[in-house]
């Protein structure tokens, strides 16, 4: 089987990958683009560990003469890293877990179940997907103010309970797509055995949707980790802010210091250090999950 499919892969299923010339071109292109993607990351890491003399020395561009942790420490202090990290982690994990559950329930309903006005609700789903959040942001602020939720995490978490929240419509669409590609036989068998929709969903469908769950969980986690818009709108006066908001505060602070005559050369490494601290947990998470993620993307039928 392995040998055969390898042979098959070699023979078919690809358009134009024969010949050394093509291979060389392929690698050239991929390495180029990969370099473009990686360069800012390298720049970020190298800039942040440069000490004062390296920063001022025009001969030092990529490789610093030594590793200096001062900027990183400074950035961590300005971000209030431990506390903000805790806030970001709990908000992102909570909303990712909740969105996986609530969006999969809604996605399953759209894919397999029957309910009144289904077409209308599906149109509502598509509408939610394409609507810019800015259209509803001001009334939402007023609504949450009325409920006394401003400067808490409720405005971010409560909509996710209902399958909304950041990009919730997209996740419902992904789950709908995934469930509608699954074969119907299993559900029918379970139904004949007398299982209701709830048991079928939680005992049969969810356990086999690992790939879709991984994709949605990671997207949801990463997007809510990076999102600064909603937290800054709903939590402008809070002291416990997520890292993404911390970064904009840090930028504002540095800009103010620069106006008062701080050293320009030291702004970069601190900013880069802060960016690194924010992105690091995501990179670690991605390093551990990328295998499932890549596989999940191919199997989910993310799209029609």
């Amino acid at each position: 089987m392995g040998k055969l499919s390898w042979l098959k892969n070699k023979l078919i299923g690809k358009e134009a990958d024969k010949g050394l010339l093509f291979r060389a071109l392929l690698y050239l292109l991929l390495v180029d683009v990969a370099f473009i993607y990686l360069k800012p990351v390298f720049y970020m890491v190298t800039t942040m560990v440069k000490d004062a003399s390296d920063l001022l020395d025009p001969a030092v561009i990529w490789v610093p003469t030594g590793i200096y942790g001062g900027h990183l420490a400074e950035a961590a202090k300005m971000l209030d890293y431990v506390k903000s990290f805790g806030v970001s982690l709990s908000v992102s994990t909570l909303s990712a877990v909740i969105q996986v559950v609530s969006c999969s329930v809604a996605g399953y309903a759209f894919a397999r179940l029957d309910f009144p006005l289904k077409k209308l609700w599906f149109a509502a789903l598509l509408f939610t997907f394409i609507m810019p959040a800015q259209v509803t942001i001001l009334p939402s602020i007023l609504l949450f103010k009325e409920l006394g939720w401003i400067n808490t995490f409720w405005p971010i978490l409560v909509p996710t309970l209902f399958g909304h929240g950041l990009k919730g419509a997209l996740f419902v669409l992904i789950f709908r797509q995934f469930f509608s590609t699954l074969p119907k036989e299993m559900e029918e068998a379970a139904r004949i055995d007398g299982a209701g929709a709830f048991r079928i969903f939680f005992k049969v469908m969810l356990p086999i949707s690992r790939s879709a769950i991984v994709v949605v969980f990671l997207f949801s986690f990463v997007w809510s980790w990076n999102d600064a818009y909603f937290p800054s709108m709903y939590m402008f006066g809070a002291s416990d802010v997520p890292l993404s908001v911390g970064l904009s505060k840090l930028n504002a602070q540095l800009a103010a210091e620069a106006q008062e005559g701080g050293l320009r050369a030291f702004l970069e490494p601190i900013k880069m250090g802060a960016s690194f601290l924010i992105i690091l947990p995501l990179l670690v998470l991605y390093a551990f999950t990328q295998r499932w993620f890549v596989e999940g993307v191919e199997r989910t039928g993310l799209v029609e």
Partner: protein, 306 residues
């Protein structure tokens, strides 16, 4: 709005009455189950989408004052809309038109680039998994403010553009109103690549839907790789191209760093709401254009695809 117009009939399953009645009971039960599943989402839609949407439309026709006791709204008619559209050009036009032109240039670049990368990543070659890991990095970076930091560093531009003096050439051969936005896009070309993360994923997933046997048949018929791409891969990817166009439009137009979006603030609720609505209509217009083109292309292709 009543969500559950169906009366629950719990004993439907075991009743064993007439087949017709039983079927009706079963279908009622299924509808009930479906309603229970969709209810949370539907309630959320009403509370967090429909209500704010209508309220925002209401506010756009009113002067809104937030006081201690509550919200005071007084009718001003279409004053804010007129102000934005006709009186004060600065609020909408100065930022909107350059942005729209940039978007028009960016969308094709993003689509073509991500399609190309997805097809390449779909080939079998040594180190493919390592490249895949790298090419998914934008999904992590591009949604955050980190990308803003990178632009600020000048990491967005390609060195080759400035070394070849492309901007000068652009200025010479293009009308001034277009040279600016195109120059911007080229200047932040790398950034365009950073926006392609999810699009690459969608194309990769979509590419899996074209079955291998089609390529096999093409090979047996003696089709060369070039015509295989144009006759099989591209037509097969048309739905995904349009899905990506719509995703890219939605993504670009709702990006928090977008110039218009930054203008929706709590300073003036009425004016901001009117601006958001005008902006939303523009987004809808773009999507409608994409859909119309898609319908045309799909119709043109469908006899061939059969």
């Amino acid at each position: 709005m009543s969500l559950l117009p169906i009366k629950p009939k719990a004993d439907a399953e075991r009743s064993g009455a007439l087949p017709l009645r039983r079927r009706r009971h079963a279908s009622t039960l299924r509808k009930l189950e479906g309603s229970v599943f969709i209810a949370p989402w539907a309630i959320g839609f009403l509370a967090f989408v429909a209500f704010p949407l209508i309220y925002s439309l209401y506010m756009s026709f009113h002067q809104v004052r937030i006081t201690v006791t509550g919200v005071n709204a007084s009718w001003v008619g279409t004053q804010y809309f007129r102000e934005i559209l006709f009186a004060d050009g600065g609020l909408l036009y100065d930022d909107l038109f350059p942005f729209l032109k940039e978007a028009l240039v960016m969308i094709p670049i993003i689509i073509v680039f991500s399609l190309m990368i997805a097809i390449l990543l779909n080939l079998e070659f040594l180190g493919r998994s390592a490249f895949r890991v790298i090419f998914f990095l934008p999904v992590i970076f591009a949604s955050g403010q980190i990308i803003g930091e990178f632009i600020a560093q000048g990491e967005g531009s390609l060195g080759i553009i400035s070394s070849l003096r492309m901007d000068g050439m652009l200025a010479r051969y293009l009308p001034a109103s277009w040279a600016g936005p195109i120059g911007n896009v080229i200047g932040s070309f790398v950034l365009v690549l950073w926006y392609s993360g999810v699009q690459i994923l969608i194309f990769l997933a979509g590419r899996q839907t074209i079955s291998r046997s089609v390529y096999e048949a093409a090979r047996i018929d003696g089709a060369d790789p070039w015509s295989t791409f144009w006759k099989i891969t591209l037509p097969g990817m048309v739905p995904f191209i349009f899905l990506n166009v719509i995703y890219t439009i939605v993504d670009l137009f709702t990006y928090p760093s977008n110039p218009i979006i930054g203008k929706v603030t709590t300073e003036n609720y009425g004016l901001s709401s009117a601006l958001a609505w005008i902006y939303f209509v523009i987004v809808l217009l773009f999507i409608a254009i994409a859909l119309v083109i898609y319908a045309r292309v799909d119709r043109a292709l469908s006899p061939k695809r059969q």
